[in-house]
Symmetry: C2
Subunit: 144 residues, 2 copies
DNA sequence: GTAATTGCAAAGGTTTTGCAAAATA
DNA sequence: TATTTTGCAAAACCTTTGCAATTAC
């Protein structure tokens, strides 16, 4: 699930409509490839000439989440972030400049998830892992 | 940093005052040992006869965070949770009953953190890891 | 034409802020 | 007494909801 057209045809296949708002939000999330908040999505689209109502954006995000196109990420800030739901990964969040970079780790956590079930009888469905620290630029800046 | 008195004397040592609100919030977080939201803290304290203003609770949580007594946890819900900042651990969040249980994993993540610095030059300071799934009770309930 | 989607306005919930009053040391 | 802390009220945000108008199919 990488290309915008693929996503749209998947939705169409399920009987959903292709609207301007829908494809614009998907395109934006595919383009930037970084988690965005709903207010940020409104602002970005607006600056590109497509002024969507907040309610529309929120409803669309709920819709895309229900269809497994998008997933939520909770960072330190107050608003919830959303990103395209492709390839399992984690995040490197810079505490200084707030940039977010994806990182892919091995399968080590699956081992923990088995362990958790054996020890606690808690059945893990998913997990979220965020690393907070200083990105390449900010770390170099503060060290020098 | 386990006992309420220890925390209070640490604060006192740094020149901070011991107030009713401050010690009540610390006691509550130490007692329940599970992450609470600010509104929940207000409600719980209020039901125990200590009605604090919301603003006071929020300001106190900022203060306790600045002093490393408390840390934020972001879960799926809308409000931010807070917990006593003791012993590094992670969370098992039940998607059905919303219960939260602490879990302590090994040092495996430190290995990843080193790797992240070597590969990305991103200097990790902390991380947050939450597992979502079904707790012992809810899993048994749905399986039967 | 029918049903899904949108905009608007209003409301709900969380969190922050200014300022005067109260409490701590 | 000198600061810090608190309460109150108001506001700032983020997010959701109802309803009528619009749009996609």
């Amino acid at each position: 699930m990488e290309d915008g057209r693929q996503i749209l045809s998947k939705l169409k296949g399920k009987g959903h409509r292709i609207t301007k708002a829908r494809s614009a939000i998907i395109d934006l999330l595919l383009q930037d490839r970084k988690p965005l908040t709903a207010p940020a999505i409104c602002a970005l689209l607006s600056s590109r000439g497509l002024a969507l109502n907040r309610a529309t954006v929120y409803r669309e995000l709920i819709f895309l989440r229900a269809n497994d196109i998008v997933r939520q990420v909770k960072f330190a800030g107050k608003a919830t972030h959303y990103e395209i739901n492709s390839g399992h990964h984690h995040h490197l969040v810079c505490m200084k400049c707030n940039s977010v970079k994806d990182v892919v780790l091995g399968k080590h956590l699956e081992h923990h998830e088995r362990q958790i079930y054996e020890k606690e009888k808690f059945k893990v469905v998913s997990h979220s892992l965020e690393f907070y620290g200083l990105c390449r630029n900010c770390y170099r800046g503060s060290a020098t």
